[in-house]
Every structure is written in C-alpha cells, then in structure tokens.
C-alpha cells in the first residue's frame, strides 16, 4: 500500500474506499496466541465455544507474530517479559494493534505497590489501543474491547490524508 497510503484528499470516492478497507481490517483482526497470566485463561475462554470470538472474524489465533494483527497483552508484564513483548510487537507487521487486558497490563494492578519486578502498565513498553478493566476481565469485556478496537479502526484513514485536527 506504500504508494497509495494517505495520499488522497478526502472526497466521496476515497471515503468509500477507506470505509471498505477499514471494514476488511476490522472484520479480520487476528490475535496472537500469547497469554501471560490469569487473563490468558479468560482469553482462551473467549476463543472457546461459549463466547466464540471467531464470530467477529477474530478467532484465527496465530502463533507467529508475523501473521497476527492484534496483541492481547493478557496478564502481568514483568521486566524480564517486557523486553520480549517489545520484540514481539516489533515483529508484527503494520497495521498492528494492542489490547491491554486486565488491571495488570493496564497499570500494574494488584502488583502495583509491592511488585518489584512488575511493569506498571504495558503502555510503558508498547503503544496500547484499548484498555480493558477487570482482574481478570470477563470474556464479555474482552469482546467489548474488540468492539472498541473495531470502532477505532473504522475511524482510521487508509488512503485518505489523515484529518487535520485543530
């Protein structure tokens, strides 16, 4: 997309094309098989029959970061892991998204005060698109987070020039 990306003025055609491309992106957000801690179990639950994240096209969990679009940071991040998370995030091809699932990934959670090895929020390492509260969040909350991410993707510009903010 390199040549076409963010090259065009906003008009009827480009907005429709953008809408279509964004629709494709948001309908097929493939998460990475990557669980850290307790939240990972709820993430697994989301992938399973009862909640079935595959309904939204996001059920193709890929083990390799190269094929994933979404990194769900499900659990506590500590210093030893933070560097790996950064690396995994860098290995994902753009456009890529990250969800901080649960209190630990959002801001250290219950380990904030005495957790000497715990990173106080994964956003100190990688950019995060959606934060989900809960310890651990319910599967429904993760689905809600996915919806939020879809909303965010729908608003992004692909071939249009990004909207100027005053």
């Amino acid at each position: 997309m390199g040549l076409l990306e963010k090259q065009f003025e906003e008009n009827v055609l480009t907005t429709r094309v953008d809408w279509l491309l964004n629709w494709c992106r948001l309908s097929s957000i493939w998460p990475m098989t990557f669980g850290l801690a307790c939240c990972a179990i709820e993430m697994m639950a989301v992938g399973c029959a009862h909640h079935d994240i595959d309904r939204f096209g996001a059920g193709a969990f890929r083990a390799s970061p190269r094929q994933a679009d979404l990194m769900i940071v499900a659990g506590t991040v500590n210093f030893k892991m933070a560097e790996r998370i950064k690396r995994l995030y860098d290995q994902m091809p753009a456009p890529k998204y990250a969800i901080a699932m649960g209190a630990c990934a959002t801001g250290g959670g219950p380990y904030y005060k005495y957790g000497y090895t715990v990173v106080k929020g994964v956003d100190r390492v990688i950019p995060v698109d959606v934060y989900i509260a809960g310890c651990p969040p319910r599967p429904e909350a993760l689905l809600e987070g996915l919806m939020k991410l879809q909303e965010k993707i729908q608003g992004s510009s692909v071939i249009r020039k990004p909207a100027r903010t005053a």
């Binding site: 990475m32 098989t33 990557f34 669980g35 850290l36 801690a37 307790c38 990972a40 179990i41 709820e42 697994m44 639950a45 399973c48 029959a49 009862h50 083990a63 970061p65 659990g75 506590t76 500590n78 030893k80 892991m81 790996r84 995994l88 219950p110 380990y111 005060k113 005495y114 957790g115 000497y116 090895t117 715990v118 310890c135 651990p136 319910r138």
Partner: protein, 402 residues
C-alpha cells in the same frame, strides 16, 4: 561406537550402535553443531510464558534447560507486606486454574497458627469448591494437552464444561477465575438457594461428558502412540525430584495428601471409602510415561465428582464462617500446611511475629518443583515428544514464577 566433537566443542555426542568401518571414518569427518532452539517465552507449547532452551540434533532433543521468571510477580514479598486477609486475593493468582485450592491452602496455614475451629458447613462447601476446581483444572490440563499433541477440538469441548463450572463459581462468589471465596475461618458466604442442586446436575452431566472425553482423546490410537513410553519418570526419580500430585502418582507412587495426611473432611471421606486414588500403571506403555500422568488426571476428575456427591449428600445447614475479627492478629509462630492441589502439594509456610502482617509467606508451588524434572527427562527424546513431556507436567506459569 563413534563420537563426534561438535563445533561448539563443549558437547561430545556418542552415536549408538556400531557403524560399518567405512562409515566410521566418514562420521569422524563430519562436524555437526547442535541447534539451540528457544521455545518461548511466546510459544504455543509452553503454556504461558516459560522459556525452554532446547539443544537439538535434528529432531532429537539432546538437552533442555527451562528458564523461568517471565511471570515473577513477587507474591512472597507481597505476602510479607500486606495484612493477612489482604493476601488472600494474591493466592488466587499463582495457580489461577485452581484458585479455590490456593485459597484453601493459605487459609488452612493461617488457621493452623490461629488454632480455630471451622464450622462443618464451611468445610463441606470448601470441599465441594476445591474438588470442583480440581475438575476445572484437570479439564484445562487435559484439554491443552490435547492441543499440544495436535488435537484442537477436545480442548473446546472441555472448556464448554468448564464454562458451566465457572458459572457455578460465579453464583457462589461473584468471580469467574479469581475467587477469594475460601476465607480464613470458613467461606465468604453461604451458597445461594438452588446452588447445591445445580452442582448435582453438573455432576450428572459431567459423568456423561467425562466418558466422551476418554473415548475421544484418552484412548485415541494416535494419542496413545504419541504419549505412551514417552518421558518416563521412574519412581525413585520422581521422589528424588520431589514431584507431587499426578506427576508422582503417574509414576506409580501411591501418595495423596487427601488420604495420607487427611485434612479438613477428607479423613471422614476416606474412612467411608468414597473415592479411590488413581495410579499410573503403565497400562499402555511404561510406568511413569506421559500417558500415565494424563490418565491419573483424567481419572481424578471422576473421583472428584464422587467426593462432591458425598458432600452434597451430607451437607447440613449451619454457619459458614467462624467468628474472626476484621483485622487479624495472628499469634506468633510458624506453620507449614501442604494440601493436595490439582498439580501436587501446595505448601504454605507462614511465619507470624504476632502482628497484623506476616513475617514470611512461603509458597511451595507444585508446578515449580514438578518442572525441574524436565532437565532430566527431556534429553534423548524427539522434539515432538519434548512438547508432549512439557504438556504432561501440567504447569501453570503463574505458580512456577509466583
């Protein structure tokens, strides 16, 4: 026998068998270096964020070194920093698949120091919850093991039943995964109306489903071929490595804390002969192989159902928590309590100096101890077997790293 010096220079590998004369000279010329492959921290087979450094000669794994600490969450430091009761939610989070059992272990350790009497109904509900959670934990262990072996679907089936169990726990305590329900002195609140009968319905359904799982995966020919005779842990090795739980029983050692050091109601339950302790027998391969370990877990699920049924039959109304103050001051002393977690002996060693905060909370995590055996049994297996072995240890990284 020929031996080749690898390029790394550190490892001398000895080829088995006698090679023909010509080939021996040929092999002496060949310089091969073993491949160091890094499994994890993000790898589908490591069940979380563990890293295993494998040295591999082609498909053959010649050495393995687990690296932990990717989920070290300072649980023990927190234990000696927060108040006694405040630590309870942290116990949920080391073995997050069996949070009820963790609550139970910690509560029992503190109660041992306090020397208080727990109401009988509380003990009953505790046992029901702990055993249900054991089923849930084993379901995931079995399901993810299928995943390691390459069978995806049984995993989802097992999550289906687990989801019902989650709903049961949610009804009784409001949380799906991290319960903090079993408190020091009893349980947080009484079971809501109709809960016990729903547990009974769950037991009835589960018996049927259990048979399905056994048919679908446990006796599947490919599954048996993949797991039997793989990763054999002999009895003495199991004891030497301090293995507990299904890992130990899979090796044929008849040891279960619920029977041999009965705590809470298990004394009574064992006296009535409600449940049996399944042991590995080498039925499909060698004693102590992966299949035996998985078999023990699968059978334990059914035994747990029996215990739950017994509790449902014998439960009577009454108080569910002993009279304890809001801010606990635990008398000075030290106590160790080990309970039979789904993964083995979960020990809590607590030291109190008489204050509101513990001096020491040591968690003897079964996964941590069980994992150490990998270094000993993985060399000499195929890479695919290595994954089968990791899966059969059934570790929870939250617990190995705490």
């Amino acid at each position: 026998m020929t031996s080749t010096e690898t390029q790394a220079g550190s490892i001398t590998r000895t080829e088995g068998g006698v090679l023909p004369t010509g080939e021996r000279e040929f092999m002496l010329d060949v310089k091969t270096s073993d491949l160091e492959i890094n499994m994890g921290p993000q790898h589908p087979a490591t069940h979380g964020v563990m890293r295993i450094l494998c040295r591999a000669d082609g498909e053959l794994c010649t050495g393995a070194q687990p690296h932990l600490g990717y989920l070290h969450r300072c649980a023990e430091k927190i234990g000696e920093s927060v108040e006694w009761l405040q630590y309870l939610p942290y116990t949920d989070r080391y073995d997050y698949l069996a949070a009820m059992n963790n609550n139970l272990g910690y509560s029992m350790a503190v109660e041992k120091l306090m020397g208080i009497e727990i109401p009988r109904r509380a003990l009953m509900i505790r046992t029901i919850c702990a055993e249900l959670n054991r089923i849930g934990s084993h379901l995931i262990a079995f399901g993810t093991y299928g995943l390691d072996i390459g069978a995806f679907t049984p995993f989802l089936y097992m999550f289906r039943e687990r989801e019902w169990m989650m709903a049961l726990f949610e009804k009784i305590c409001g949380a799906r995964l991290t319960y903090s329900y079993i408190r020091i002195g009893g349980v947080f609140n009484d079971a809501p109306p109709g809960w016990l009968s729903e547990v009974e319905r769950f037991c009835d359904t589960f018996d049927v489903k259990w048979q399905e799982y056994v048919d679908l995966l446990m006796v599947n020919h490919i599954f048996v071929k993949r797991t039997a005779n793989v990763g054999v842990i002999p009895k003495d090795m199991a004891i030497d490595f301090g293995l507990t739980g299904p890992m130990l029983r899979g090796s044929g050692v008849d040891w279960d804390l619920r029977r041999d050091e009965p705590y809470e109601l298990y004394d009574e339950i064992c006296r009535e002969g409600v449940f049996e302790i399944p042991l590995g027998s080498g039925e499909r391969g060698t004693l102590g192989d992966c299949w035996d370990r998985v078999y023990v877990r699968v059978m334990e699920m059914r035994e747990a159902i029996k215990i739950v049924r017994w509790c449902l039959d014998n439960i009577e109304p009454g108080p569910v928590i002993a009279d304890i103050p809001k801010t606990l001051k635990i008398p000075p002393g030290e106590a160790y309590v080990g309970i039979e977690n789904p993964r083995g002996e979960l020990g809590h060693y607590v030291v109190s100096d008489g204050g509101k905060v513990a001096t020491r909370v040591r968690v003897r995590a079964p996964s941590f101890v069980n994992l150490a055996v990998l270094e000993a049994i993985m060399p000499g297996t195929l890479l695919a077997d290595a994954i089968a072995i990791i899966g059969s240890t059934d570790i929870v990284v939250g617990e190995t790293d705490r």
